[in-house]
Amino acid sequence: MRATIRFLLGAHARELPDVDPTRTVLQYLREDEALCGTKEGCAEGDCGACTVTLAERDGRGGIRYRAVNSCIMFMPALDGRQLLAVEHLADDCGGLHPVQQAMVDHHASQCGFCTPGFVMSLATLYMAGDNPGRDDTADALAGNLCRCTGYRPILDAARAALAQPARSGDEATISLRARLDALDTDSETLAVEGAGRRYVAPRSLAELTAILTREPSALILGGGTDIGLWVTKQHRDLPLTVATERVAELRQVTDTDTHVTIGGAVTYADATARLAALHPAIGPLIRRIGSRQIRERGTIGGNLANASPIGDMPPLLLALDAVLILASADGLRRVPVTEFFRSYRTTALGPGEVLAAIEIPRPAAELRLGVYKVSKRFDQDISGVCAAFAVTLAEGRVQSARIAFGGIAATPARAHAAEAALNGAPWSAEGLRAAMDAIDDGFTPISDMRASAGYRKLVARNLLLKFHLENPADLADAIALRLDLAEGMRA
């Protein structure tokens, strides 16, 4: 067991003993290292002022760069990685990094408080060698709020900086890899203790389940994008956290002819490509979960285990009839996702049990799938209503339908009555009516700051109609329409 965390802070190796496992990286940078370029704007992952870059080995000989929110990331997550803050971008002579220079040249800062965060989001793209188009750049910046500029100059700066050729060369990658290897963080299990709190990062499923059996009060820690806020906002004390992020078995994504299986500790970012390839409706949903920073850390497993009624993955997984694989010291069991959410924020996970994997059946070619997230703001917002529809048609009638919602009940839920009403019905606006009414009758949403009960219900029912309009019975029409709509909304 190793009790110190080891990482690179910029170019410098750090080995820290007695780390408080719920101290945030932001606190560490500002208070311990006096690196005050990284700012706190909200301490809840929502403004991006605290954005830093994590560089890690990608398992294929390269380096994976991730922009993350340091305000909700706990210190042990640095282990084995390089942490880059805005101060680390300047070149050896103190000159501005191309991204920083572009921000100056394009007048992209006013009060400047958001600027280091934007710089780090862009520098992450720069280091990764990405030169995305406008939409993807905007996607990478969706988690960075600026109250002053109105964003246009920031996009201009991004375009200019990312268009520059030749970034970090192979040599730099190789040398960084070597330095990360030299930290030697893989050979022993990390077990940190500080400020009266403990943290363990087991490396295998067996080790994880053994700890969970031994320590029933342990809290499973995924990416910490929910748990981080328990500390920074609710000021909860977490005496023992057990991280999933090092558990090899939980980090895998496997593809077969029939399924895609996502490990319980896989982040959105690492699963997006495979999930998006399942169906065109899936990518746009994932793009709207949190921000790039959140998706680099947050896991799909965490989203399910957290069991929020407004989580965005459950409706999709309910509609696709995914199966969850739960692991404990006693072995594995399979639970259909439809049986996973028991009541408000309670799941089928028993004591000592961890969500090991999510098995998603490949949608059949003829499946019509639609996923909709409705929120006040398009980017980085929590759903008022999230809906997923999976329908197969035969001869103009509904052959089978699975409908699931978030935001209109205490748990993410299937709309069984609406499904029943739809089965066998003609695929027409008229044919939907009974199902729409069933949605109306079947749910009693709450009113809160995100949306009123009345609106949630109305939207839930309207979304079925929207799905229908976007999916005419003729598949060719459907595809044409989808392209049309995408264009219309983006143009």
Partner: protein, 789 residues
């Protein structure tokens, strides 16, 4: 051409922002023995505090001091102009989130944890939580109501061929400056207190803290290098953390930092005033307004704070660009048991402009005309159609030309057709278009605030140190003023350094607000630089053997006749000749005056103009919308720095659009604000930016008044351009109804409000403007009957 004026110099701090080396208060090295403060907040909207047991707080680990109302050495009030804003609530709490006590401890966590141990016993009192409730009760006012009236509105409305009445509700807005409120107070000897505050108003902090500490003003120094955003939110509200940290520092004799976290900041400090607007308008068949009556109810929250000026400015902006001959504007300053609302970019003006623009839109719906046509028809014209309801002649009107230029360059007419054609063929998605003109009055309506001071020092190496009363919050004030001083001395702007705003350098200053920062401080700094230059000219004249008037300062040199020397050389010479190279400068805006009794005068030195054309797309099944394209043309006079001005225009527009769309403040039934962090309060994000966004500065702009280098103020006016987005959404909503009935849409137009408005239209139900039948005229018929016209 000058290398200083009209040139797009980057913000002086831009490289520091980008490299993370700009120092905000929380980034300053912490002084020895620093304590961290945390504020205990009320959990009742209106209640008597029957018991306040802070003993557990006092004995908690790390706690050094705990203070409440009785521990304030001087006056327990930080009302900026009128009393009523206690630092700590004493026996009654008037809003959920009001400060009750504060703790200083060795760490922030210790202070926060200790504060949670307080036991407060409340006896709830009846609370007024909504503006409607307050409006209905005549005793629920923070200040007396006011009336501006001209002509014969009642008769004009009654006689007009058409008449509409309606109500519009506009929500408030949180400033959401990225840097939260913060202050560090350091006690010195003999009662001195040095306060680093993120404030737009260092002088006021100085004065209020001195009063709270019961020491003379000269003991207190307030310094502000920069803010991470202000937007009006740090005009009066910064006094809360400043005063509390200073009191704790005085008591403990240790430096104290008070940084509000985001949630506490949003709960504790004031916001933009929500408004309810009731209108009654009479107009002729062409849409020309004959008489109009406005009742403006501003939700001031629990105390007056700056509400007087804010509501006044709302009244003075309901005319926007229009000549309203017969008009009555009645303003109620309503009291609710919510946080005291405060200055926010526009200072009430945007609510006033919203009111009339909404009415213009409703009239256009009624007349089935292009709203722009109705607007043009009502524009201010030549005298006598150029006098505002408060008696000021609009002498610098450029709105007609400016709107024409925008309509032309953005293809308004064609796009009206395109949008109509799109809506014709699209059932579930509709588009909307709106072109909104803006006129905004520049000067503080409190006349005495229109003054500024500066201090300029030239050193013998030719470098210049500049200090003035204005504060830098990102708006680019420092670089603009430096450009002016550099121009005066004929040196590159890099040779001028602006130092932190400091009340011991330039005293008795006004807040950096009302868009007037550059107008005032640049003039004061110019005067100071000019005074030094005059003295130097004499020195140079002696040296060159030419008259002082023949001495020219340019390109870092001083030239007289055929001789020249570098400014640094002249400065050395001046020192040898014992000539002062330091000067203060002062400026007071000319021409302005206002009689508060008759509510008439010339409150504004001049007006700034602009216009925006927005196109949006609305989803009729969810109420979601996106901006498709925005075109802006804005008048900055002769811009001092086009890049900085462009930033203000775009940023202001986006902030204004946010106010009216996604930024919704939501209180629960107990009066608790539930949108107190970015997870629930949604300011515009990058994805809200329209894919086509053209912003241009009006090239024919020139300030006809003698403002600094004929430029115009640009901080607040562009915020109003965001109204175009709201009205474009309203336009699209309307397109869902078969008959283009009027429709009500309140702000912010969240997807929910949008969908509900569409639903009302579908149900054929309530319109916002009630058609008022006028006997014997066409308006007596239902709107659809007029469609044949």
């Amino acid at each position: 051409m000058s290398s200083n004026i009209g040139v797009s110099h980057p913000h002086d701090s831009a490289p520091l922002h980008a490299s993370g080396t700009a120092i905000y208060i929380d980034d300053m090295p912490e002084p020895r023995a620093l304590l961290h403060a945390y504020i205990g907040l009320s959990t009742e909207a209106h209640a008597r505090i029957v018991a306040r047991d802070l003993s557990a707080v006092r004995t908690a680990p790390g706690v050094v001091a705990v203070i409440a109302a009785e521990d304030v050495p001087g006056v327990n009030d930080i009302g900026p102009s009128l009393p009523g804003d206690p630092i700590f609530a004493d026996d009654v709490t008037e809003y959920h989130g009001q400060a009750l006590f504060a703790v200083a401890a060795t760490t922030r966590e210790a202070a926060r944890a200790a504060a949670a141990l307080a036991v407060i016993a409340y006896e709830p009192l009846p609370a007024i939580l909504t503006l409607d409730e307050a409006l209905a009760r005549e005793d629920a006012r923070v200040l007396p109501s006011r009336l501006i009236k001209r002509g014969e509105p009642e008769t004009a409305i009654a006689r007009a061929p058409h008449r509409l009445r309606g109500t519009l509700r506009i929500g408030g807005q949180d400033h959401f400056y990225l840097e939260g409120q913060i202050a560090v107070s350091q006690p010195g000897e003999q009662g001195d207190m040095l306060i680093f505050s993120s404030t737009q108003n260092p002088s006021e902090i100085q004065h209020l803290v001195a009063r709270a500490l019961a020491v003379p003003d000269h003991n207190v120094v307030c310094e502000t290098r920069r803010m991470g955003g202000g937007f009006g939110g740090k005009e009066s509200q910064a006094a809360i953390p400043a005063a509390i940290s200073a009191i704790l520092a005085a008591l403990t004799k240790r430096p104290v930092k008070l940084r509000l976290d985001r949630d506490d900041d949003m709960v504790l400090t004031g916001k933009r005033h929500p408004f309810r607007i009731d209108y009654d308008v009479g107009f002729d068949g062409s849409g020309r307004i004959e008489g109009i009556d406005f009742v403006l109810a501003g939700d001031c929250g629990f105390s007056p704070d700056l509400s007087g000026g804010i509501n006044d400015r709302a009244m003075m902006h309901v005319d926007n660009c229009y000549f309203l001959e017969n008009i009555s504007i009645l303003s109620h300053r309503c009291k609710t048991n919510t946080v005291s609302n405060t200055a926010f970019r526009g200072f009430g003006g945007p609510q006033g402009i919203m009111a009339i623009e909404y009415v213009m839109d409703e009239i256009a719906r009624h007349r089935r005309r292009d709203p722009l046509e109705i607007r043009r028809l009502n524009f201010y014209g030549d005298g006598p159609r150029n006098v505002t309801p408060y008696g000021m002649a609009v002498e610098d009107n450029v709105i007609g030309e400016l709107v024409e230029e925008l309509a032309r360059s953005a293809d308004y007419a064609e796009r009206l057709q395109e949008v109509a054609a799109f809506n014709e063929r699209s059932d579930w998605i509709k588009r909307g278009l709106a072109l909104v003109p803006v006129k905004f009055g520049i000067s503080f309506t409190a006349i005495h605030l229109n003054q500024a001071g500066a201090l300029v020092q030239l050193y013998t190496d030719g470098s210049v140190l500049l200090n003035h009363g204005g504060t830098e919050m990102g708006q680019g004030l420092f670089i603009k003023v430096a450009q002016v001083v550099a121009e005066e001395f004929g040196i590159p702007v890099e040779r001028v350094r602006v130092s932190a705003t400091n009340t011991s350098k330039v005293p008795n200053t006004s807040p950096t607000a009302a868009s007037a920062g550059t107008d005032l401080n640049a003039k004061a700094a110019q005067a100071a630089a000019h005074a030094i230059k005059q003295r130097l000219a004499h020195v140079a004249a002696g040296e060159f053997g030419v008259p002082p008037t023949a001495v020219i300062f340019a390109n870092g040199e001083v030239i007289g006749g055929r001789r020249r020397m570098r400014l640094a050389e002249l400065a050395k010479l001046a020192r040898m000749q014992r000539v002062s190279m330091s000067s203060t400068g002062f400026y007071a805006t000319p021409k302005i005056q206002f009689d508060p009794v008759s509510q008439t005068g010339r409150p504004f030195y001049y007006f700034a103009y602009g216009a925006a054309l927005a196109e949006v797309e609305v989803d009729g099944l969810t109420g979601e919308y996106r901006q498709r394209r925005v075109d802006i043309l804005h008048d900055c006079g002769k811009s001092l720095n086009p890049a900085i001005d462009l930033g203000q225009i775009e940023g202001g527009f986006v902030q204004g659009a946010g106010w009216l769309t996604t930024e919704e403040l939501w209180w629960d039934a107990s009066g608790q604000l539930r949108t107190h962090a970015p997870s629930t309060y949604k300011i515009p994000a990058i994805g809200d930016l329209p894919p086509i966004f053209n912003t241009r500065i009006y090239q024919s702009g020139r300030n006809r008044e003698n403002a600094i280098f004929r430029s115009k103020a640009v901080g607040e006016p562009p915020l109003n351009l965001g109204i175009a987005v709201f009205l474009a959404i309203k336009d699209a909503v309307m397109a869902f109804a078969a008959s283009r009935r009027p429709c009500s849409l309140d702000a912010p137009a969240t997807p929910e409000r949008v969908l509900m408005a569409i639903e009302r239209l579908r149900a054929g139900g309530a319109a916002s403007s009630d058609e008022v039948p006028v006997p014997g005229t066409a308006a007596g018929r239902p709107p659809d009957a007029e469609a044949a016209e």
